[in-house]
């Protein structure tokens, strides 16, 4: 969402109108830029939610032979987004090009855990490690949620002007 300066418009017109008596501009002008107001918190929340699913999957497959425990590199992905040098998105100019859109899936970002003590059936899930990671992840999720909640409360009180 872009904020625009309307100084080039004639005085006396409605903000949404580009010509006198014309139809309202279809683009809704917003005074609040949510991307700026919320920062990285929504992205962090999304990542933590996906990490919860990955860890739950590890715990679910604790007894599956040849299953390899996986992990989402949360810190690396978040600092990547923070620095703004997220992976280049590649254009698909041919029908046979593979869509490398980074937002479509986190499958490519998943890493395999290095097992401390692999089981004889090829399973690398350490249940206690996974449980600890899951508990920590749930806590981080709730913390991020509280930050986001606080931002929204701030916005609401700014709008109300109380």
């Amino acid at each position: 969402m872009k904020t625009q300066v309307f100084s080039d418009r004639g005085a006396g017109w409605h903000v949404g109108c580009s010509v006198a008596g014309g139809k309202p501009d279809p683009v809704i002008r917003m005074a609040i830029n949510f991307d700026n107001a919320l920062g990285l918190t929504p992205y962090a929340l999304q990542l933590l939610g996906q990490r919860t699913a990955v860890l739950a999957n590890n715990i679910a497959n604790a007894n599956t032979p040849n299953y390899k425990a996986r992990e989402l590199p949360f810190q690396a992905m978040l600092s990547e987004a923070m620095n703004g040098d997220a992976r280049e998105s590649m254009a698909t100019t041919n029908a046979r090009h593979i869509d490398a859109n980074p937002t479509s899936s986190i499958e490519g970002d998943l890493r395999y855990r290095v097992p401390l003590m692999p089981a004889i059936d090829g399973n690398t899930v350490d249940v206690h490690v996974e449980q600890a990671a899951f508990a920590e992840n749930a806590l981080q999720f709730q913390a991020s949620l509280r930050f986001l909640d606080g931002r929204f409360r701030g916005l609401i009180s700014a709008i109300r002007g109380e």
């Binding site: 715990i59 497959n61 604790a62 499958e107 709730q142």
Partner: protein, 143 residues
């Protein structure tokens, strides 16, 4: 939404552990089942688990469910271990040498299996509860 796909993942794991608990119960119940025909003697049964791709709760398996998997039971196999032959000549089902074939159920192993299945089930319930709490918190955001 990835939080909702946890319900599918943990649910499939709970279902698989229930199958495992079921076979354990069957094995323990039949640990002393003797038949007159050695080929028909009960053999210990164990489920084979495999990771499985499940679609998300909202059905978008291509995007959301691709990285989340559940557990599926590929099948139940019978143990190939040799039957336990016991010398009980007074047993009505004994063969001409006086031996009776007992099932190849290892009771100690079955008990350990039972504990493992129970703990795994409990763990998945915990995961499910945590995911539900998180999802509820998201719903109450901004209130």
């Amino acid at each position: 939404m990835s939080l909702l796909s946890i319900f599918d993942v943990s649910g499939s794991a709970m279902s698989a552990e229930t199958v495992r608990l079921n076979t354990t119960a069957s094995n323990l119940a039949n640990a002393q089942s003797v038949t007159s025909n050695f080929a028909d003697t009960y053999r210990a049964r164990h489920p084979v688990f495999a990771a499985q791709a499940v679609s998300g709760a909202d059905g978008d398996s291509a995007e959301d469910g691709a990285e989340t998997r559940g557990v599926q039971v590929l099948g139940i196999v019978e143990s190939q271990a040799p039957l336990t032959m016991r010398f009980e000549p007074e047993h009505p089902l004994a063969d001409k040498d006086g031996y009776v074939a007992y099932p190849n159920v290892n009771v100690v192993q079955e008990m350990a299996d039972m504990i493992s299945a129970t703990r795994s089930f409990q763990m998945n319930v915990e995961v499910l509860n945590s995911a539900r709490t998180l999802a509820e918190r998201v719903l109450t955001m901004g209130q």
